[in-house]
Symmetry: C2
Subunit: 221 residues, 2 copies
């Protein structure tokens, strides 16, 4: 299978799940010139320690387009989660990521794609919803030679879709995932710590607290 690995808590848990199930994993990390490039190192460490069969870090510079606090000059919000789609939304990011995963999958003969999107404790992104995932799956089978010729049926697996962040932390802990190797923060401090205040840090903190699992993260705040 092709697994999208950002280096965060969610995709790391997906990788641990897939490996525990005995899957051969092609781990795909997109270097989209994100503000939190630190997650790329986390992805490399996770792919190595969890035994991905291959790990590719593919440059695809979404900063060329901007339009997000993660790829442009606007600041990452630190005031707490609010309703609506936040400025950390990156235009069409998961569409781009799944498309690239599909390209690798078809080239490598892998028809299972796995992405750690989550429709509960998420940041309000439209490309994390079940309707999006279903539409992409339908597209994948129309878009590809393997899909059209019937030699493969593409499936988009989203094992975290209906889990809370606490559920995800528990699942990772049960699989022995070393959470210290994962990176969530959108806006790391200069000394390389999780800021503790961005939406992603807040969701991470709350997930560990609600799961009753020790949080190894070094937060600056």
């Amino acid at each position: 299978m092709v697994l999208l690995l950002s280096g965060g808590l969610d995709s790391a848990t997906c990788l641990a799940m897939a490996r525990a199930a005995g899957a051969e994993v092609l781990a795909l990390t997109i270097d989209y010139n994100q503000r939190h490039r630190r997650e790329l190192e986390a992805a490399e460490g996770l792919a190595r320690t969890l035994g991905a069969r291959r790990h590719l870090v593919l440059p695809l510079d979404l900063r060329a387009f901007g339009g997000s606090a993660l790829t442009g000059a606007m600041p990452v919000p630190k005031g707490g989660l609010r309703p609506g789609i936040p400025v950390t939304y990156v235009p069409a990011r998961n569409t781009v990521f799944l498309s690239v995963a599909l390209a690798w999958g078809e080239a490598a003969g892998a028809s299972d794609l796995l992405i750690g999107v989550n429709a509960l404790d998420y940041s309000g992104y439209p490309d994390c919803r079940p309707a999006f995932v279903a539409a992409f799956e339908a597209l994948a089978n129309l878009a590809t030679k393997a899909g059209v010729e019937g030699t493969a049926t593409y499936r988009v697996h989203t094992p975290l879709l209906c889990l809370s962040k606490a559920d995800i932390v528990r699942a990772g802990a049960d699989l022995g995932l070393d959470f210290a190797r994962t990176w969530s923060c959108y806006d790391p401090t200069r000394d390389g710590r999780h800021c503790g205040l961005c939406d992603s840090c807040r969701l991470r903190k709350r997930g560990f607290a609600e799961a009753g699992v020790p949080d190894p993260t070094d937060y600056a705040a």
Copy 2:
């Protein structure tokens, strides 16, 4: 609008059509590490002479995955068009390209995407069919903040979908397109000419011949 510009005859004609209609064009060329990199230069010349508002050449190395004669070691067929999907098919290429165009479109506030796919005189690629285009359009409106919030409705325009190659040549000629600036060949000769034998060269030749328009191309065969 965001227009996918490969540098070939079809996308050049699309660009000429869009400019003739007065559209402001963000021209997007993907450097996917294709065998026929010569088309990237053609795209730059076309964007400049036809007055694209901006032109971006975005590196996205699909050769990292292989799986195609255009991105791997296998040779480009020269024996003539055959039924079925040829080895020059690049896994999920148009899905990836439209996704990246959508990312730019959303970031730039452009809801029209234009791609020069063609369901008649084409090479049998699954991601050039109307069903694929419709599925991508549906996905785009589910995948994006602008689509979900209703501030934009994404449309995928395919003005060449039901034209023959001869029709495309005629349309380009009517708009004064300088065909010598376009590049079609999948496997350029060492001295920088169109090979004349690959599927893309054969479709190009036939299109000019059937249209009765002089073909300025320097074919090696």
